[in-house]
Structure formats: structure tokens, C-alpha cells
Symmetry: C2
Subunit: 230 residues, 2 copies
DNA sequence: GTCAGCGGTTTTGTATACAACGGGAGGGAT
DNA sequence: ATCCCTCCCGTTGTATACAAAACCGCTGAC
């Protein structure tokens, strides 16, 4: 593997994990020394981070780790809604049934993954990643996938901003199940709208966890009332 | 201006104008000699092209100019529909009235720009660019704008694929007018749907001009029948 | 007190030399 | 004849040296 790739992945991981916090200046000589490479491949990795939007030009010509605050998350979800509803629509149009039958079965039993045994929820997030991958495979639209890929980088960073809330994850599992079922049923409209619903609720959860008041002043309905959607 | 920026812009222009055709290998030493810079800034420009999707890795480690065929245009418009309908929706929500009043007036008179005097249609395309810029300014959503920017690069390249057809441009002007009016009226749904209509028609025109049979076997309605939409 | 100009220092931008990887032609074995 | 192995050459990847530009603190004038 090339040194510039190692640099890129290493810095990317550090930024996504919030080990490098927003505003940190990414000095070429300093980072080159830290990662044990020369400035040439380091610069290449840095420019890739910049084209991902993970680093932005600070004062002068320096690169700094990009901000990601509550308002940025709102903007991020405006893009996410555009891309993921379209992805769901196209997946519903083009999917092969087998994968989504399997995913529906797994999401129907997602509560078994959300016991208190696994505080990182890795089994659950793996299932969500599998759904994303299945949708990507079904979409089969290179330009859209490319944008989705860039988006997911920022979504992953945003996830680390808010704490994992088990009731919300159980609700999210039902929303994912609805999406997977709609794709399986080739119901393009429902797939897109269920995705939109899921994203709006996820955004509200993240913003609430950040201490932001939600845009709507209404209390959330009790979780049991949402069961009818599944 | 930095040498790497000149390299990037020069190669980008060459690719968008189809002076560098798909499949052309972008050899570092060759291009560095042609553009009069050393390999270091040239590589930087090349990587930017790759992250834009204008260059892709060929056999070995070489970069080649990316393909853009009829099927790619279809995929491109799947992304375009996702991004531009969302942009229109958000612009309708957040626009300041003045700019769009002006744009409506200009699009209402777009037929005056489409005389046979100007074979490049530069005045008309400038007007379209102004609408795009006004929507961008109203959207005010950094992540979405970033994706839109990347998209427009490929759209510009695709435009050079098909010939300019005056009747279609007159029809497109009416579609643009409808979008601008919907944004001005803060009608989010209409803005999004009018954008979708415009994109579907544009895609059909491009594909027809490429010799592809449209997906629908129906003949286009006469141009005068579309006047009711304005 | 404030602001403009000016070195000094630090940082980024560029050029070049060298290392390493990969493809392709050629030859030998089967 | 075909397949595979090897060596050579061209290309890309990396390191380093040098050039240029920008920040910072200083000084001085108004």
C-alpha cells in the first residue's frame, strides 16, 4: 500500500473518531514527522481529506480539520435526504429479492441485537451497514454512489457526536425494516418516503442529544404507538 | 496562482471541451512537459481530476480520461434529479424575492436571446447559469452545494455531447421560468417537481440526440401545446 | 494610541533525484 | 505451438533541497 494511502486513512480515522478535533491545524512537517513519511505523500493525503471536506483551508494556506456543529448536521441531512431517498427509490426499482428478504428477517429480530450486552452496538450497526451495502448494490448508479460514499464519511463523523439511545435504536430498526420491505415490494414511493421519515427522526434525535431544541415543540409519541408502522 | 491550479484548470478545460477524449492516458511526464511544470504540481492537479471523477485509474497505475457515454448520462441524471430537486425545494423555502423576480422577467423574454444571431447561445446559457447561481445562493446548504458543484462539472461535459436544438431550448426556457416562478412563490413542491420535469425532458433530448431511442415510444407533443405550463 | 511598513521566521509550493513497482518482450521448457 | 519465467525499461511513488509566500513582532511615525 502506498504511503499516501496510509496517511489518508490514518488522518481520516483520527478525524472521524474525533481524536483530531475541529480547528486542529494539519501542519505538513508536523504530521509528516508523526506518521513517518516525507512531505510529498503527506500532502497528497491532505489534499484527499480536503476534497472529502474533512479538512478546509484555514488562515493563510494551512489546512485545518473541518467543523461539524449542530448547524452543520442539519445541512448534512439536507444532502442526505436528497441522496438516500433517491437511492431507496432506485433500489426498489432494481433490487434482486434474495438479499432484501434476508435483511427484512434480520431487522425483524433487531431487538435481539440491542440487549445491553454489547455497549458499542456493533452487531446492530453492522446490520445497518449491510442494508446500506445492499441498497448500494441494487442502485447501480455510479455517480449517485460516489456522492453517497462522500456523504457517509460525514455521517459517520456526526454519529460520534451523539450518544446511542437504545429506545431510539429500536425505533430506527423498525424504520429500517419498513425501508427494506418497501424495497423488497418494489414500492419506490414508499421506499423513498420511509427513508425520508427515518432521516427526519434520526436528525431530531441527534439534535436533541446535542442539546438543541427540536424544531417542533411537540412531545414525541410513545414508542409503542409507532408499532403500527411495521 | 499556483502551478497545480493552472494544471488542474487547464486539464479540466481540455476534458470538458472534449479536446482530451475518454481513454486518453494522462502520463505525468508527458503532461508536465506539455504544460511546462514539474511532476509535483502536475500530480496534484491530476489527483484533483480523479477526485472529481474526470479521470479514472486505467491499467497499471496510470490515469485516463473518464468515459462519458449514453449510459453514463442516464446515471448522471439520476444523481442530478436527486440534488437539483432538493436544491429547488430548499431555494423555494429560503429565497429572497428580488433575484427571482428578475430571473422570471428574463426567462419570460428568453426567446429574444434565442435568435439565430448567436450560434453559441452564450446569452441564453448565461441566463441559465444565473438561475443556477441564484438557487445556489438561496439554498445555503454547504454539503448540498458541494455535491451540486461536482455534479455540474459532469453536466457541462455531457452538454458538449449533444447538439443545441433551438426548439428544445425555447421549451427549456419555459421550464426554467416555471421553476423560477415556483421558487418565487415559495412553492416547494412545485419547484421540486418542475425541476424533475425539466431534467427528464433534458435527458430525453440528450439521449435522442445521441441516437438512443427514448424509453417511451410516444412522439413529443407539439411545442405550442406546452405554453399552458407557463 | 494606532497604524503602516519592514525583516525574520515559519510554512507551503516547486523542482529534481532516486527508489520501487508493473508491463511487455523475449527466450526457454514442456 | 503454447505457456511461463525472467529481465529490462518505462512509469509512478517517495524523499529531499530549494524558492516563494504569508504570518508575526518590531519599529517608527503621525
Amino acid at each position: 500500500m502506498r504511503a499516501s494511502d496510509r496517511v489518508y486513512e490514518s488522518l481520516r480515522e483520527d478525524i472521524l473518531a474525533w481524536r483530531l478535533v475541529p480547528g486542529t491545524v494539519l501542519s505538513e512537517v508536523e504530521q509528516a514527522a508523526r506518521l513517518g513519511v516525507s512531505r510529498t505523500p503527506l500532502r497528497e493525503g491532505l489534499r484527499r481529506l480536503a476534497s472529502d471536506g474533512l479538512a478546509v483551508v484555514g488562515k493563510g494556506r494551512t489546512l485545518v480539520v473541518a467543523e461539524l456543529a449542530a448547524n452543520d448536521v442539519r445541512h448534512l441531512f439536507e444532502l442526505r435526504e436528497a441522496l438516500e431517498t433517491q437511492a431507496a427509490r432506485l433500489a426498489a426499482r432494481r433490487r434482486r429479492a434474495g438479499v432484501f428478504e434476508d435483511l427484512c428477517a434480520r431487522f425483524a429480530r433487531a431487538d435481539e441485537l440491542l440487549t445491553d450486552q454489547d455497549p458499542t452496538r456493533s452487531a446492530y450497526y453492522l446490520l445497518v451497514a449491510d442494508l446500506d451495502a445492499a441498497i448500494d448494490a441494487a442502485v447501480d448508479s455510479p455517480y449517485l454512489l460516489r456522492s453517497l460514499q462522500g456523504l457517509r464519511t460525514h455521517v459517520a463523523r456526526a454519529r460520534r457526536l451523539s450518544r446511542d439511545d437504545t429506545p431510539r435504536l429500536l425505533q430506527a430498526a423498525q424504520e429500517h425494516l419498513l425501508i427494506a420491505q418497501a424495497v423488497l415490494d418494489r414500492d419506490e414511493t414508499l421506499a423513498a418516503q420511509a427513508t425520508a421519515v427515518h432521516l427526519r427522526r434520526s436528525l431530531a434525535t441527534i439534535l436533541a442529544s446535542l442539546g438543541d431544541r427540536p424544531t417542533s415543540p411537540w412531545p414525541d409519541p410513545p414508542a409503542t404507538a409507532l408499532g403500527v408502522l411495521t
